[in-house]
């Protein structure tokens, strides 16, 4: 109780916003939660857009990053440190920052407590239906108390996976897989939460996915990597292993080469290129 007492103002604030959305704006309670989520996410838009931009910027440095990963393949800790140094030097970073994520924390807690109170207080204190889209009878009840809750949980798992796919561009594949599988484990915990809280979650996840899709379309991928790839792959004629050191050379133009002298070689090279591209 002592731990939670500082959170009561938060709960009151959340309840005020919900009351306003329900009473003044005229939304049903469930849609008020959706609207509250949207308000929170709109406030966080500048933060997430900045992050997505930095993730896209990172594509330019993919060859150098791969090199670091190869170099410190045995020592994961060292690899991480070197990658982080590299990010810092080049002013890029694929990972999310903790602060925007923590900004959602008070909203989440406040919503949890207000929904718990919803379940205990008489219906006169929150007039209007607590149902959502006719398949969830009450957003204050446990998610698994009705079949509709299972549908919501399924949507939660899918949306959480999708948002992880869009937002966490971690270099470590195992870490990413763990994050992807996390919602399946947590669904058992979440099942005991009020359905309204899961609704908040689903909305925020869908927002993340939508935001990711829109920003990826609006901000085109930097054309730099394609040019770099071409330049690094043409030299093998002379050197053998180019290594992709990021050192840009001005190779001889490949177009005017007279194909008549050796017709058998060019197709082989094309095949090699394709294989390397797939891998």
């Amino acid at each position: 109780m002592i731990l939670f007492s500082p959170l009561t103002p938060l709960e009151h604030a959340a309840r005020h916003v919900l009351d306003w959305l329900h009473g003044t704006v005229g939304l049903p309670w469930a849609w008020s939660i959706v609207a509250l989520t949207v308000i929170v996410r709109v406030l966080l838009v500048p933060l997430t857009v900045k992050q997505i931009h930095s993730m896209q910027n990172l594509q330019r440095f993919a060859p150098q990053m791969k090199e670091i990963q190869k170099k410190y393949k045995a020592d994961k800790k060292k690899q991480n440190e070197e990658l982080m140094k590299f990010y810092r030097e080049n002013n890029v970073n694929p990972a999310a920052s903790c602060l925007p994520m923590l900004a959602q924390f008070p909203v989440f807690i406040a919503l949890y407590y207000s929904l718990r109170h919803f379940a205990h207080e008489p219906a006169s204190q929150h007039p209007g239906s607590l149902s959502f889209l006719h398949f969830i009878p009450s957003i204050a009840d446990h998610t698994t108390s009705h079949w509709g809750g299972f549908v919501l949980l399924f949507v939660y798992v899918t949306s959480q996976m999708a948002s992880t796919l869009y937002m966490s561009a971690t270099v470590d594949k195992t870490q990413r897989t763990i994050f992807m599988l996390m919602p399946i484990v947590f669904v058992f915990v979440i099942a005991h939460f009020p359905a309204g809280l899961v609704l908040y979650w689903v909305t925020t996840n869908l927002w993340t996915v939508g935001q990711g899709l829109i920003t990826r379309r609006l901000v085109p991928k930097t054309p730099a990597p394609a040019i770099e790839k071409r330049t690094s792959r043409t030299p093998p004629r002379d050197d053998g292993d180019g290594g992709g050191n990021g050192a840009q050379r001005g190779p001889e133009p490949p177009k005017p080469t007279p194909a008549a002298s050796s017709r058998s070689q060019p197709p082989r090279k094309v095949r090699r290129k394709k294989k390397a591209g797939r891998r």
Binding site: Y87, R88, A96, S97, C98, F105
Partner: protein
């Protein structure tokens, strides 16, 4: 006394941190930094350091390798 801080970080890691998986842009991550800070500097100074790190862990910062010094 510092154990209180360690317990708080683990409570966060097992609950909210696990529910909202995000990767920190710093290394060590903010939660690991908090653990290191509380262990080496004590609860009060360690918590202050951890809070300062959290404030730095925003979208405008560079991130990168940043251990407790």
């Amino acid at each position: 006394m510092y154990r209180l801080g360690v317990a708080a970080v683990w409570l966060y890691r097992l609950t909210f941190g696990a529910l909202f998986p995000t990767t920190c842009k710093y290394h060590p991550s903010c939660s690991q930094y908090a653990l290191d800070a509380v262990r080496s500097r004590g609860l009060v100074r360690g918590s202050a350091l951890a809070c300062w790190r959290l404030a730095r862990c925003n979208p405008w910062s560079r991130g990168g390798f940043d251990p407790v010094r």
